[in-house]
């Protein structure tokens, strides 16, 4: 294990009745991507807000590059970049003006700011729109500017809170490439996401977070090994036949088989399992009405790890679905 860029120990945070973080721990190695995977309201944004010195934890501690986020917040702020869920850029400023403002406030040498702004505008495909007010930008452009703004000061540690939300597939792939480039240059990235695929493609390690707790912390390969690489969904004609199918398949496949209504779902290691499944169903005289084979989603990870679906526990403040929280001011 190399140097630790981010250290999180026993972090808790409560908003009124809601336990947003119930004691989380993890470490992120320098120069790697760490994914926090979970549904809305799991506590991902709360964790990011604490790590970026926006919010104080109730208990526990966290360090960024050896600096405590509470006791030495100022030093942390010189070392991080943050792109949030809300594309927090000024709509009345142009793209270029936004980058300059953030540069100045991040204490970048003024003579370096114009060049840096140009470089980022070009890299994020915003050169043409650079001198137009942001309110004329599309959602995707605003998102890209938000990420660019997090990079003006060349932060060694970058926090990305659901960076690809609202991006189309091209935009998402471009951003993924960008993140890989940054990491190749030695930047450490902590990103939150609701998509297993995104965490899988980018992260060296993934922490799955549910109701304020880390319920798994593993490499993507490790997580998938627990999970099976494929999900098979068998639609039966009705519930009774689905029940029989589940019973039949459980004999060989154990608790990897679940039933929901007339649907039987199981995780498989490969095509072999599918063959076995079809053979046993056929032998048992049960004909499926439909069969679907797909990549596992975050929901499947959740079902597997927790036994429940990845439901939105989105009570407002938990994960920054912000309006209610902000109305209440200092929560």
């Amino acid at each position: 294990m190399g140097d630790v860029a981010i250290l999180v120990e026993g972090l808790t945070k409560r908003f009124g009745d809601l336990q947003a973080l119930a004691g989380i721990d993890f470490e992120v190695e320098v120069g790697t991507v760490f994914g926090l995977l979970g549904p809305n309201g799991a506590g991902k944004t709360t964790a990011i807000r604490i790590l970026t010195t926006i919010l104080h934890p109730d208990a526990g501690r966290a360090e960024v590059l050896g600096h405590d986020v509470v006791g030495d917040a100022e030093s942390v702020r010189y070392r991080i970049g943050l792109a949030g869920q809300y594309a927090a850029v000024d709509r009345n400023l142009t793209g270029r003006e936004n980058l300059r403002l953030i540069g100045r406030l991040a204490q970048v040498e003024p003579s370096e700011i114009p060049g840096r702004a140009n470089e980022l505008l070009q890299r994020f495909g915003l050169s043409e729109a650079a001198d137009r007010p942001v309110r004329t930008y599309s959602g995707g452009m605003r998102r890209r500017l938000d990420v660019a703004a997090a990079l003006v000061q060349r932060p060694p540690v970058l926090f990305l809170d659901e960076p690809t939300t609202g991006l189309d597939i091209t935009g998402r792939n471009e951003l993924w490439d960008m993140i890989r480039e940054l990491v190749a240059d030695g930047t450490t990235v902590l990103l939150t996401t609701q998509y297993l695929e995104e965490a899988d493609r980018l992260a060296g390690r993934i922490a799955v977070i549910d109701r304020g707790k880390v319920i798994a912390n593993d490499t993507p390969a490790g997580l998938k090994a627990q999970l099976g690489s494929t999900v098979i969904e068998i639609g039966m004609a009705n519930e009774p036949s689905a029940l029989s199918a589940k019973e039949l398949l459980s004999r060989t496949l154990g608790d990897r088989v679940e039933r929901e209504g007339s649907m039987v779902r199981l995780t498989a290691d490969g095509a072999g399992t599918l063959m076995d499944v079809l053979r046993s169903l056929d032998a048992g005289g049960l004909g499926p009405a439909s069969i679907a084979v797909r990549e596992p989603s975050m929901d499947d990870v959740f079902l597997r790890l927790t036994g429940h679906h990845a439901e939105d526990t989105a009570v407002p403040e938990a994960d920054g679905a912000g309006k209610a929280r902000r109305k209440r001011g200092a929560a």
Partner: protein, 269 residues
């Protein structure tokens, strides 16, 4: 970028950030940003200029006839200058609430910028806007027959007092904006505070014309004493007592609302 190279970058930023000038630099950066907003969204300026112009016309030509004050335009305009900056201060609340809602303040709080800069930059930009609006209202005043009865220096001091008072009120509304965190709510919350202060005051009519129970409030509240002070400086009469009362209000409000606002900014978001 190795860990060491990365930390060198951070150390360069830290060196620049440790300058004693940082609070001023950052406040200026935020002020500049807010002023660009006024330039790009002229509606904001229109809100703070059209409304006082309408007041001048209404009071000068509609209610003025019913008001038993000779040369009413000379009585009216100092009151209008003051009410202009009082209404204008509401935009401080709206501006901060907008930034809070958009998540911009959240980003600012993750940056190594002076903690005072957001509030100083907001109130600073609103002061700059008030300079513009006050000059415009002076011009409107002269058009409807307002004439300075004292001397240009006293008039200038009167205007400075108007601007100071507007700046001070901005700090009250900065607290309102951070507390409600939503622009529409901010406006709705600010109006009921502002309206009695403006209308139950000596800004447009004499306090002696009001019912007895209202007079003590109307006589000593900040808008009244400031309007009376500005009026004395511009059209004559005893000045010292009103100016002192007005400055005392300004000092008192700043003493309470600046620390309160900064504290709230640190905790909010």
């Amino acid at each position: 970028m190795t860990t060491r190279a990365a930390d060198l970058t951070a150390q360069t930023l830290e060196r620049r950030g440790s300058s004693a000038m940082r609070p001023i630099r950052d406040a200026l950066a935020v002020t500049g940003r807010n002023l660009i907003g006024y330039r790009r969204v002229p509606q904001l300026l229109v809100f703070s200029t059209i409304q006082p112009v309408i007041f001048v016309v209404l009071f000068r030509y509609v209610f003025g006839g019913a008001v038993n004050i000779p040369n009413y335009q000379n009585y009216l305009m100092p009151g209008v200058f003051v009410q202009t900056v009082v209404f204008g201060a509401m935009t401080t609340a709206v501006g901060l609430a907008t930034d809070l809602k958009s998540g911009l303040l959240e980003r600012f709080r993750s940056l190594p910028m002076a903690r005072s800069a957001v509030l100083a930059g907001r109130t600073g930009a609103d002061l700059a806007r008030n300079v513009f609006v006050a000059a415009l209202m002076a011009a409107v005043g002269f058009l409807v027959g307002f004439r300075v009865q004292t001397n240009p220096i006293a008039f200038l001091f009167g205007m400075l007092l108007v601007l100071l008072f507007g700046y001070v009120l901005s700090w009250i509304f900065a607290n309102v904006g951070l507390a409600v965190g939503d622009p529409e709510t901010a406006q709705a919350a600010a109006f009921p505070v502002v309206a009695p202060l403006i209308f139950a005051s000596s800004a447009f009519v004499q306090v002696s014309s009001m019912p007895g129970w209202l007079q003590p409030f109307a006589k000593y509240q900040p808008v009244s004493v400031t309007a009376s002070a500005v009026r004395a400086l511009m059209i004559g009469g005893p000045t010292a007592s009103f100016v002192i009362q007005s400055l005392a209000w300004c000092a008192g409000i700043l003493l309470v609302f600046v620390p309160l606002g900064v504290r709230r900014y640190r905790r909010t978001v």
